[in-house]
């Protein structure tokens, strides 16, 4: 085996040496034979002749010897490759445009794959990845997003479940703990970014410490949790240069010391793709920061390890049952345990993008796949045009004995070479493209690393190969149809059919993309025209945060914050350029306390109605936002803790609670607070414009909501033409004047209401932009292809056109002739594309807002767009056809 390989390698790479050896060997043989024959008495001439006869033709012998070297296939491949190189170099324009087109399509597809792979697809590098599941609570009809089970229930489930071997949790702590503490003294222990995990987390994943130990169940035994931390590999490398002695060092999380007990292996970065953190700390050691909240109780993002003898559906059924048991146990308030507990596969970890962004990526992937196909078709067109020009050459090769497979191999090799060059360019573009896609997806994407790894390389190689084969098929078939009889026949007699077929297909494909883009355009248009219920124009929103240093001295912290907030509001009214200002706990759009319920006073909690948000607002709120009061009064500064508790309901909520009865003067209970209804406000959209108007409850800023902590953030909304940054600066100027209870929020940038509303359907806008971009690329490809094919078709018919003109055809008639030809191609393409467009429109209807999947206007818009593009493409060839000089044309041919 080895000697065989060595021999063949030598035959390839030391070819000249082998040839020399062979020649010398045969020469020696001949000399010896001549010498022998001469010694027998033959004359030198006779001896020479005799020896040559005995040995046979030197070239035949050499050929026979070469055949035994076992490198024939490789040799002919190399020869074909050299030939392909020469052909591609001979047509630099065609080659260059082909490479550019294929670079774009390979680059775009690899970019999308890279992003999808690093944010969603790549499996977790842990031993138990296949058995990991994730637990989420899917809300029932009452609405709301997917959320996580309560921590208390998690603890109970841990003890009850059999289908899951273990339940563990990893969670990202709230902001201050996630960020490295800046306050650590320079000489003291370093502040680090923490991630929370339960003690059994690493057991569940099957991850072992590189050095030291991981977190263990005993780290979180009740009442005896340990302040220990386990560092990531990168943290260990960057901070401690991989010194094992780093174990035992102290790090600060939220100014609290934790002792490092071990470091994790390289490559393991938690189950959240793209999460950036330095250490794991036990969830139990920092429950306040590690657990989320919903409806006033702690929640946790749980993962489970499927037992070996169970399936995911079985475990799912068991958990659903346990969830119902917990629901009926009465141990939890009805708001906290609701909906259905669901488990989903977590072998790939938790995506770095949210569900909406993931969907956008899939849509993008489909659209890019179409672009790749278009790129292939275009390259195919180029090669086919070039192939027609080379018919004579191919016919000659066939006549000289080239087999069909040799011709096929040759054309396929050319297309593959072209796509390979395009692929190399594409890979270079892909990383830039990937970064662009991540930026495009916008907020909320965790910063994953994009790298050219084996998976990415494999993908782009597959794209290159498939592109090469796809773009090679038509030119190859064209070449095969070439018969040697045609060598002397007039080239122009054969219509250039394959090019037109390709262009027709391109038109059809681009029409589907165009239809998709128009769908998204209409969807976003619909979103923009949803009535909001308030006036969002020129409203700057500034979020303020309590200033703990100044607050701690005060016994009534909440009272201090609210009085500070209303004083600030009064001062802002005097700032030049501020037309109106209001303060409240939440922003008009996206703000307010969530997860509350409300009921008529006196009825049981079974009749509670879930509400979307509770807002505490000042006396000017409804004026400033221009939310109409349907009945009753607004708030006044006299609605404080010392007076009767009052509440304003949104219109639809009032209807739900009281039906046709007059809600004014009735009492309602919000959580533990009972208040009387003094007003009904118009409905507004909150958080999203895609859902029915929100059920809102408004409380006066100065009355507290019992049992719901205190105001943590204050939002100032100012109607002004100034930029949010200017408004923020003005507010900072006002609050820095005294020892204020407020400071600018480190977590929320100044913004405007309109920006927030736009951000709520950012996904739709993104999809629109992406689709528009891809549809434009598709149109450009079609225009280029159509132009190329029609220009070529006209050039081939110059003689015919000249002849027609010579015998009296007017330019108009010629133009009609060519227009007909173009119209046939485009028309058939459009007709063929309509079913595809309808399929695409139906498929994406669910991703667009209130756009009908069978909307003739959408399809019509796409068709008009396609016709316009086609018009641009064929204008020049048509013009050219009418300017043929008959004398020139006939003389030249």
């Amino acid at each position: 085996m080895l000697s065989d390989l060595k021999f063949r390698l030598r035959a390839i790479f030391r070819r000249a040496e082998m040839e020399r050896d062979l020649a010398a060997e045969l020469e020696l043989h001949r000399e010896r034979e001549v010498a022998k024959l001469t010694a027998r008495g033959l004359t030198p001439g006779q001896a020479q002749r005799q020896a040559r006869l005995a040995l046979g033709g030197a070239e035949q012998v050499k050929e026979a010897a070469r055949d035994t070297w076992g490198v024939r296939a490789i040799e002919s491949m190399m020869r074909d490759l050299r030939h392909a190189f020469r052909v591609l170099r001979k047509h630099p324009a065609v080659t260059a445009s082909g490479i550019v087109i294929l670079s774009i399509s390979t680059g775009a597809s690899t970019a999308v794959f890279t992003v999808l792979d690093s944010t969603v697809f790549k499996p977790l590098p842990v031993a138990n990845a296949e058995r990991l599941v994730r637990l989420t609570v899917v809300p029932d009809a009452t609405g709301g997003g997917r959320r996580y089970p309560p921590y208390a229930a998690f603890e109970r489930l841990r003890g009850l479940t059999h289908g899951l071997e273990q339940l563990a949790a990893e969670s990202r702590p709230t902001m201050p703990a996630a960020a490295a503490a800046q306050r650590a003294a320079p000489a003291g222990p370093p502040g680090v970014r923490a991630m929370c995990a339960t003690g059994n987390f690493f057991d569940v994943l099957g991850v072992h410490a590189r050095v030291g130990r991981t977190l263990q169940p005993f780290d979180e035994s009740p009442g005896a949790y340990h302040d220990v931390a386990v560092g990531t590999y990168t943290f260990w490398r960057d901070r401690f240069q991989l010194e094992p002695t780093a174990i035992g060092s102290t790090v600060l999380v939220r100014s609290r010391p934790f002792t490092l007990v071990g470091f994790l292996p390289d490559g393991f970065k938690g189950i959240r793709k793209g999460a950036a953190f330095d250490v794991y700390v036990p969830t139990a050691a920092m429950t306040d920061a590690c657990l989320g909240t919903w409806g006033g109780s702690s929640t946790v993002e749980a993962i489970g390890l499927l037992a070996r003898d169970t399936s995911q559906p079985a475990a799912s059924a068991e958990l659903a049952q346990l969830w119902n048991v917990l629901k009926e146990s009465g141990d939890y308030s009805p708001g906290t345990i609701s909906g259905q507990l669901a488990i989903s596969n977590a072998s790939r970890g938790i995506a770095a993008v949210n569900d909406n962004q993931e969907t956008s990526l899939y849509l993008l992937a489909w659209a890019v796949a179409l672009i790749v196909l278009l790129g292939c078709l275009n390259a195919s067109c180029l090669l086919a045009v070039q192939g027609v020009a080379r018919r004579n050459e191919i016919a000659l090769r066939r006549a000289l004995g080239a087999t069909a497979s040799a011709v096929l191999r040759q054309t396929m090799l050319e297309s593959c070479l072209l796509t390979a060059a395009g692929g190399a360019g594409g890979l270079a573009l892909a990383m830039l493209g990937g970064q662009a896609i991540l930026a495009w997806l916008g907020q909320g994407v965790r910063p994953v690393e994009l790298a050219v790894d084996a998976r990415v390389l494999g993908f782009s190689l597959a794209v290159v190969l498939i592109s090469g084969l796809v773009s090679g098929v038509i030119p190859a078939l064209d070449a095969l149809r070439t018969r040697h009889l045609q060598i002397h026949r007039d080239e122009q007699l054969r219509p250039f059919r394959s090019g037109k077929v390709l262009i027709g297909v391109e038109v059809a494909l681009s029409l589907t993309l165009l239809a998709g883009a128009v769908m998204f355009l209409r969807g976003v248009g619909n979103l923009r025209s949803v009535p909001l219920g308030f006036d969002a124009r020129d409203v700057a929103v500034i979020t303020l945060w309590p200033n703990f240093d100044n607050l701690l001295a005060n016994s009534d912290q909440e009272g201090y914050v609210t009085s500070e907030a209303s004083r600030l509001r009064d001062r802002l009214l005097h700032v030049p350029g501020f037309e109106q200002a209001t303060v409240g706990t939440g922003r008009t759009f996206t703000g307010g306390l969530r997860g509350e319920t409300v009921r008529r006073a006196g009825v049981t909690s079974d009749e509670s109605v879930a509400i979307d948000a509770v807002q505490r607002v000042d006396d000017r709120y409804f004026d400033v936002l221009q939310i109409p009061l349907v009945a009753g009064r607004g708030f006044s500064t006299r609605d404080d803790d010392g007076s009767e508790r009052v509440v304003i309901l949104s219109h639809s909520l009032a209807k739900r609670l009281f039906g046709q009865a007059n809600p004014l003067g009735q009492s309602v209970s919000v959580g533990a607070t009972t208040a009387s209804v003094v007003g009904v406000a118009g409905d507004i959209q909150s958080r999203s414009v895609k859902v029915p108007p929100a059920s809102m409850i408004y409380l006066p800023l100065w009355q507290r909501l019992a049992g719901r902590g205190w105001v943590d953030q204050t939002n100032v909304q100012v109607r002004t033409r100034q930029s949010p940054a200017q408004v923020s600066a003005a507010i900072e100027g006002e609050i820095s004047a005294g020892h204020s209870a407020l400071q600018p929020s480190p977590f929320a940038d100044p913004t405007t209401l309109e920006a927030m509303i736009g951000a709520s359907y950012a996904d739709d806008t993104l999809r629109l932009n992406a689709m528009s971009l891809l549809a434009s690329i598709a149109l450009v490809l079609v225009v280029v292809g159509l132009y190329g094919v029609m220009a070529y078709a006209v050039a081939r018919r110059v003689r015919e056109i000249g002849l027609r003109m010579a015998i009296g055809a007017t330019p108009k008639r010629i133009a009609i002739l060519v227009v007909k030809e173009c119209a046939t191609v485009v028309g058939i393409g459009i007709l063929a594309g309509i079913p595809g467009a309808v399929v695409v429109m139906r498929a994406i209807a669910s991703y667009t807002f209130e756009v009908s999947p069978i909307d003739p206007a959408t399809l019509g818009g796409a068709i008009v767009g396609m016709l316009l593009a086609a018009g641009v493409a064929v204008a020049r060839p048509i013009w050219r056809s009418t300017h043929v000089d008959p004398v020139e044309a006939l003389r030249a041919h």
């Binding site: 000697s3 021999f7 060997e25 020696l28 012998v61």
Partner: protein, 110 residues
């Protein structure tokens, strides 16, 4: 050229070359001479087919080639049996014996 000389059956040239080389390393012409000699002129070995056969055997690793000075001080490519080639020679010889015996006995029967 006498018509009594017979052509080699397919595949036996390799065996004969291995046999010749088992005595001592040789270059191409000498192998061809040797074959003529031992077969006392009965076998007709196409000299041209000798070289492809040598290269084939070399590729399979049964013989190896080396350039060395020949008797009249010219560089010649000497072929030498390898360990694998020796084993091959033995097994091929054995199977050839079996084959020729079997065919011989069948012919005797008839």
């Amino acid at each position: 050229m006498s018509d009594e000389r017979i052509g080699l059956p397919q595949g036996t040239l390799d065996l004969l070359i291995l046999k010749v080389l088992s005595l001592e390393p040789q270059h191409g012409w000498a192998i061809s001479e040797r074959l003529q000699q031992i077969s006392t002129g009965v076998l007709r070995v196409q000299q041209g087919s000798l070289y492809p056969a040598l290269h084939r055997l070399e590729r399979r690793g049964w013989i190896k080639a080396e350039w060395a000075a020949s008797d009249n001080n010219r560089q010649a490519k000497y072929y030498e049996l390898t360990r694998g080639g020796r084993g091959r020679l033995e097994s091929d010889t054995a199977s050839w014996r079996t084959l020729s015996n079997t065919i011989g006995s069948i012919l005797d029967l008839a």
